[in-house]
């Protein structure tokens, strides 16, 4: 990779380019902060307890609209309920979403992309002995249906149905062990929908018990205690955020594609075959293009439950190629005069990246992949599943650790070599000096840019975790920090890749003519250690060792 554009670009041009890129970065951040709303919103719904003594799995129960359930109870512990002979099998918790607001019936839009449901139970502490186990296993009969605008009120279509098990995780501090206090139960994941294709959804949940007639060798839902209410928090992506996000993608997609075309044309005009690093830049660009591709437009027309899986995979591919790129870039700038220029030379390092990504991919497929067929599925509910998931995550963590060890070691070696070369630089011929100065310069620029980007991402992430999500500049200007973080980081890695492809493309310029009369084009090619002749390399090695000993 001799003579990249970055070495030969004049300071003024470089300055203009960097200013332009920084401007793009700021615009991305501000678009998120000022235009976009928060990435997601919650609709917390209290379940309406419908009662039907002739419960049937084919029937839908809903709290609003024509044909709504009329027999409801507010408190199951009310002695009246027991007197009426109502049992747990007759109670259906119903959730009809979205809730109406301001006398308007709202509906979900396809712009809102996905839906996540978390269940929360209100269980009262009873001074009397209640059959309650804080870590009880719940059996949930859940049914999810949908209805579209224009359908009659009672035409609900089944989307998914499942009998699921979930483990309660409740606690109560000793000072709260009094009547009327509630256990502090953590939320239980219920389902995840990768696409929000329909307008209205209806969730029916039953916590059935065995009737005395049925065998009770495996008691279900006996230890739920004084459960009084069920809440479900429905989380969806905000339509406004999707719009801003997709617009960003629509802008970035052609930009990165065109810079890649430009880059490849430049390479193919060269006499030599492309170098490994140039291939890597193309791979990075391709992974980013895949990530940028605004596939989300499809969800507006079609039901695409696989969208979350696909976007996880796209994101994973980008991370994998970015990590591999750093490794190979560092390796190619080692200046230890060992010929690499071949992926095989990096198999140990790259296997760490691949292993980590594979682990995360398997984990993702186990969770979100299975959710494609059963949205109620969660890997975390069974003990084996939890252990498996944890194993994969830990394995991925080990791979990440390994990767960073490799990378840090290589960077350290590069710096050692740089300081060695620095000492011998004055003794070298000007062409060789220019070559090494170029290598050092390229490496340092990338190092600086990468560190800056990584630091910004991490700082942004930490700030996002500690802040409230919305920052107020003054009364009128509200900054949506979380959205700004997402658009800012997304824009940053796009700008980063753009700059890399642009600046590390081979330059057409010869070595500057006014530099030194000694240098000739022939010598330049000869001394390029990345050129194809290994025999020439060994002579350089000999020369360098001699220069060093001198």
């Amino acid at each position: 990779m001799a003579g990249a554009i970055i070495e030969n670009l004049s300071g003024r041009k470089l300055g203009i380019l960097i200013m332009f890129l920084l401007l793009c970065q700021v615009v991305c951040f501000l678009v998120g902060a000022l235009i976009a709303p928060a990435p997601s919103s919650v609709l917390s719904v209290l379940g309406t307890k419908c009662v039907d003594k002739q419960y049937s799995r084919e029937k839908w129960y809903y709290p609003r609209g024509k044909g709504r359930c009329l027999h409801r109870i507010s408190n199951p512990q009310d002695p009246e309920v027991a007197k009426q002979g109502i049992s747990a099998n007759h109670i259906i918790f119903t959730f009809q979403i979205p809730s109406p607001k301001d006398n308007q019936i709202l509906d979900y839009s396809r712009w809102q992309q996905n839906l996540i449901a978390m269940m929360h139970l209100d269980i009262l502490y009873k001074e009397e002995e209640a059959e309650f186990d804080p870590n009880a296993l719940m059996t949930i009969e859940a049914r999810l249906g949908y209805r579209n605008k224009g359908d009659p009120d009672d035409r609900w279509t089944e989307y998914a149905t499942s009998t699921e098990e979930r483990i309660l995780d409740c606690s109560i501090s000793p000072e709260h062990r009094k009547a009327e206090y509630m256990y502090n139960c953590s939320s239980v994941p219920l389902f995840e929908l990768g696409s929000l294709h329909h307008d209205f959804y209806l969730l029916n949940i039953r916590l059935p018990i065995h009737t005395p007639k049925e065998p009770r060798d495996h008691p279900t839902n006996v230890y739920l205690g004084a459960l009084t209410d069920m809440w479900v928090a429905f989380i969806h992506q905000n339509g406004g955020f999707t719009k801003v996000w997709v617009s960003l993608k629509t802008v970035f997609f052609p930009t990165i594609v065109s810079i890649m075309v430009w880059f490849w044309r430049r390479i193919s005009h060269l006499a030599r075959p492309p170098l490994l690093l140039e291939y890597m830049l193309m791979v990075l660009g391709a992974a980013l293009t895949l990530l940028n591709c605004p596939l989300e437009y499809l969800t507006l027309a079609f039901d695409c439950p696989w969208m979350t899986v696909v976007s996880d995979i796209r994101q994973g591919l980008f991370y994998a190629s970015l990590l591999s790129f750093w490794l190979i870039f560092t390796g190619e700038h080692l200046m230890d005069d060992i010929e690499r220029n071949n992926v095989r030379a990096y198999w140990r390092h790259l296997s760490a990246v691949l292993g980590g990504c594979l682990c995360l991919f398997i984990f993702d497929m186990c969770e979100r992949g299975v959710q494609l067929s059963n949205p109620f599925y969660s890997i975390w509910v069974t003990e084996i599943g939890t252990n498996l998931a944890l194993a994969f995550i830990i394995l991925a963590g080990v791979c990440a650790g390994l990767y960073f060890c490799f990378l840090s070691y290589m960077i350290w070696k590069v710096f050692i070599n740089i300081s060695k070369k620095r000492q011998s630089l004055p003794a070298m011929s000007s062409t060789r000096r220019l070559h090494y100065e170029g290598v050092i310069y390229r490496f340092k620029v990338l190092m600086l840019a990468t560190l800056l980007c990584a630091a910004m991402t991490i700082i942004g992430f930490i700030l996002g975790q500690v802040s409230e999500g919305q920052w107020s500049w003054d009364e009128n200007i509200k900054l949506e920090y979380t959205s700004a973080f997402f658009t800012g980081v997304y824009g940053m890695w796009n700008v980063y890749t753009f700059a890399l492809i642009c600046l590390y493309a081979p330059s057409h310029k010869r070595w500057p003519k006014d530099q030194d009369t000694q240098s000739s084009t022939g010598e330049e090619i000869e001394f390029s250690r990345l050129a194809t002749e290994p025999s020439e390399m060994s002579s350089i090695t000999a020369y360098v060792t001699k220069a060093a000993t001198d």
């Binding site: 719904v45 512990q77 006398n103 059959e131 509630m182 916590l207 006996v222 989380i235 406004g240």
Partner: protein, 370 residues
């Protein structure tokens, strides 16, 4: 949370309807309380239509509401059931918290709800206002969430021009926030309707009510729990969404009881502001209760102040606390008798609705104040 003051007005705001009590000894004109909503039968709220026949809607028939509250009541008729339930919850909680005290939060059968005793700007009045306003926040937020209130706003901060677009664009705010805002509007409005002379006791009472209403509302917010869910890439925490979960009302009541015990005595100054009466005490925050006058003597029956006295109340012989016979009976002594009580015992509780109990008979010593 924004500035503290505007939030405090919920509970006792409904004191607008003026009722002149016929008791000759009553000097002040007593005002009804909006909390009267809590004493209306449940049927009223379940089926409001029956009260809407003719030109006189329900809202004007309930004594205790101020003019502004009547208007709000008509505007938000579907909310009134929740407000009523909330007030009822508040009153029950008050009675539970004070069950062992000399003043036991007993209600009377008129629109003042607690009788003339709470016309005195005492600690007890402060608590009653706070707990009722808390009850309404709790209840409205709950009703909002089960989708029974069609008018729960989306984001009250900036009224959307087109609600549907606004909802798709940015979602809707939390319903606890809505409950808070609605309660603020409904309960506090009565304290803002009349202008009294600056620095007068009546103005002081208004400010006190506003402050305590706000403290009650804040107690609900303070006790909400935050639940969060990570749902970034592969379920990582790059994206977290949080929402609020209401605590049980007993927890709110306990918090307010603590605030009652640490309430600050204040006075109204000439500039028409409340200030701490004894400068050695801290300035109360928006979550603290304030009162203007010391409590009256609740020991003896006194129709002038409306105290029922503690005669006939059951006390605990062994307790040294407020429920002990010594303190509760104010040193008058007590009568003892043996009674047999029938009660549920050894209860076993099954989800959902079955309580299996044994019936036990116990002989206990019952002590009642002389």
């Amino acid at each position: 949370m924004g500035g503290g003051a505007p939030l405090l007005h919920l509970m006792l705001g409904g004191l607008g309807a003026l009722l002149t009590l016929s008791t000759p000894s009553t000097l002040a004109r007593l005002v009804g309380s909006w909390m009267n909503l809590g004493l209306q039968g449940y049927e009223v709220w379940r089926n409001p239509q029956i009260y809407l026949i003719g030109a006189q809607p329900l809202c004007t028939q309930i004594p205790g509401l101020s003019a502004g509250q009547k208007k709000l009541c008509q505007l938000y008729q579907d909310h009134m059931g929740s407000v009523g339930r909330g007030a009822k919850t508040g009153i029950h909680e008050c009675q539970w918290q004070f069950r062992h005290r000399r003043w036991n939060c007993s209600t009377v059968d008129d629109s003042t709800v607690f009788g003339p005793v709470l016309q005195i700007p005492s600690r007890e009045a402060a608590f009653a206002h706070a707990v009722a306003s808390a009850g309404v926040v709790h209840s409205v937020s709950r009703s909002c969430r089960d989708g029974q209130l069609s008018t729960c706003g989306c984001s009250p901060a900036r009224r959307p021009k087109d609600l549907n677009k606004e909802w798709i664009w940015g979602g809707c705010g939390d319903n606890v926030e809505y409950g808070y805002k609605f309660t603020q509007g409904f309960v506090d409005v009565r304290e803002r309707e009349k202008n009294y002379k600056r620095g007068s006791l009546r103005q002081g009472r208004q400010l006190m009510n506003l402050h305590n209403n706000e403290a009650g509302r804040r107690a609900v917010i303070r006790k909400t729990r935050v639940n969060c869910k990570c749902h970034g890439v592969s379920g990582s925490c790059s994206l977290i969404t949080c929402w609020q979960q209401l605590a049980s009302f007993r927890e709110v009541g306990d918090l307010l009881k603590d605030k009652y015990d640490g309430a600050t005595e204040v006075k109204i100054n000439r500039r028409g502001k409340l200030q701490v009466k004894h400068p050695q005490y801290n300035v109360p925050t928006g979550e603290d209760l304030v009162y203007l006058h010391e409590s009256p003597d609740y020991c003896k029956r006194n129709n002038t102040v409306g105290s029922l006295g503690t005669q006939g109340r059951i006390c605990n012989k062994t307790s040294q606390g407020m429920d002990g016979c010594g303190l509760l009976c104010c040193g008058r002594g007590y009568n003892s008798q043996k009674v047999t009580v029938r009660e549920r015992c050894q209860c076993k509780f099954h989800w959902c609705c079955v309580v299996e109990c044994k019936t036990c008979f116990r002989v206990i010593d019952l002590h009642t104040c002389k």
